[in-house]
Symmetry: C2
Subunit: 336 residues, 2 copies
DNA sequence: TTGAAAGCGCTAACAA
DNA sequence: TTGTTAGCGCTTTCAA
């Protein structure tokens, strides 16, 4: 049998009786080489069990065709579909995708930015609103970054997002048109932009209907199941009345519903609930959850497209806005 | 202000009036350098806005301290906690983690193995039972691989797993002791090892109780919500009687429950259900799901520890077996 | 404690 | 169409 150990391009060249340049060409530009020569090279490669060293290649090319997808919290399945979208267009273009976890921590965002500056990856797709302030101070040192779903104030980067104000307004309107007036908003992490925009949509829908925004009905959360539970617990302990909840994630909606049930209130009979995202389990939940669908896969695709654009030298910071859709299922009932 | 563009170690050396070796030493082995020299170097680094090029470093070191975590299906949140565990011990040891999606496709596993052979990463943590047969034929060419949760027949690799036979047997025993005898098993992807082992546990529990295994009660699935739905639909359409379901994932359990509800059967009153994994939503589901808890985070931690071991030259293929636990909640009721 | 210099594996500019 | 060769940025050996 053949050699077991890592060989290099020089050994292959020697074996095939050609130069290293010809080996490279046989591999990278097959048609710049005579077919017979190519044959010889390929045979030698096989015989030597040669596998090109990607590190050497990246080094030489000063690019490793890798992109980091940095998410707010990797425990949230929301990002799984985003990843799929990113990976689809990345792999078409010969890029790899590394997924990173920011753990809701600006410091870790900084660490990942450094990874790109150190050339561990060519670019960063950022899916968190947190951003290290010290880096904001020196925008000239920023590596290629694309923002997805979120926004970083005070910095102008290619972005793909959703119209959160409109989406949220539509959801709350739906609740209002079902007769609800005491509507809780389990918000995201305020004052970040997603959370603020959705709060704004909530406010707008309320105002349209002549309902005053009550601060005691707005409870921020971190998008987790537990945050939904905690919000309901807090409301009930404080003795606050409400007939509906608009939550800024499906997880929080589900946490809320589960906690309501513990306190003897069933959805939608006693309380109506709308979530956000349309996660895979939303439809399998009991009751099937009315929610705002986000085009996650498409968001991922567009974000990666923007990144490729940026990496190809195009540097106009585009903003792409995608459509959401209110998916009506069974967690909202009329209120009188 | 300082230079904006990428500088290299030579420029820093020149600025500091030292050799490149001294710059490297100041960075990598601070105490092999006189404090004053170090100061000078650090000042120069700052002034030049120098960021070491990780690619060059990896190339030189022939290692990039990166590990690929390749999962069966990245759409499954099961792997999120695994990732967290892997990432925890990886980052402690200075490794990065790249997550890859095998999409239930042996070909894609082969592609990722090639990535490691090409030195895109130092090792591969494999979380799928699929494996390209052509690679099995040349085990000498295998890069560092650790298996987690699954098993690849005919190949001897460091592995961290769970006692699937025992876990599954315990779950089915619980159903039997609640009076159930017509127990469906929504299995995993047969004939892969996880699925076979759990089926074996199911068989053992049945046999102990003097119940014959009926093939029409065993339905394989791919661990997804839809697979759970499909299984129930198939059973009902075929007019097969059953009073309990043991599913090989929480998603399939939930899919099954949701589908049962559509057909007017409520859990646990009409049908009892046990899942597998204890995903985060299992406890927030209605009814809260009785399930087999897998120590996912710990599995990830151990897998990465095994990998570090392997990468440090230790090559005895250890097998680590972790404990599961039957978590009793509300989806099982007595049957008479 | 420091410096000089070789070289990791590959690609591409240039020459033949 | 093919070969020669410089060099990417870093680390490390060897010598001073």
């Amino acid at each position: 049998m053949s050699n077991e150990q890592a060989s290099n391009i020089r050994q292959v060249a020697a074996l095939a009786g050609v130069s290293t340049a010809t080996v490279t060409r046989s591999l990278q530009y097959p048609d710049r080489v005579r077919p017979e020569t190519r044959e010889k090279v390929l045979a030698a490669i096989k015989q030597a069990n040669f596998v090109p060293n990607a590190q050497a290649r990246s080094f030489r090319l000063q690019s490793n065709r890798t992109v980091i997808l940095l998410v707010r919290d990797i425990g949230n399945p929301f990002y799984l579909d985003i990843y799929k979208g990113v990976e689809e267009v990345a792999s078409e273009a010969g890029y790899k995708v590394l997924m990173g976890d920011a753990r809701n921590d600006a410091g870790r965002v900084g660490a990942h930015i450094d990874m790109v500056r150190q050339k561990h990856a060519d670019g960063l797709i950022l899916m968190t609103g947190q951003f290290p302030t010290e880096i904001l101070a020196q925008p000239g040192l920023l590596p290629p970054i694309v923002i997805a779903s979120e926004a970083v104030p005070g910095i102008d980067l290619p972005t793909v997002k959703v119209d959160n104000v409109a989406a949220s307004r539509e959801a709350v309107r739906h609740l209002i048109s079902s007769g609800h007036r005491e509507i809780v908003h389990v918000a995201g992490l305020l004052p970040e932009s997603i959370a603020s925009e959705r709060l704004e949509g909530y406010r707008q829908a309320l105002t349209e209907a002549g309902i005053d925004l009550r601060e005691d009905l707005v409870i921020p959360g971190d998008y987790s199941i537990d945050a939904g539970r905690a919000a309901v617990r807090r409301l009930i302990e404080a003795g606050i009345r409400f007939s509906a909840i608009f939550a800024s994630s499906d997880e929080m909606a589900i946490g809320a519903i589960s906690e309501l049930r513990i306190h003897g209130r069933v959805v939608p009979k006693d309380v109506s609930v709308i979530g956000f995202d349309d996660m895979i389990f939303a439809n399998a939940y009991e009751p099937p959850l009315t929610t705002v669908r986000q085009p996650r896969r498409e968001m991922g695709r567009q974000a990666m497209a923007l990144m490729i654009d940026r990496l190809s030298g195009n540097s106009t910071p585009k903003i792409i806005e995608l459509e959401t859709e209110l998916v009506i299922r069974c967690s909202v009932a009329p209120h009188d």
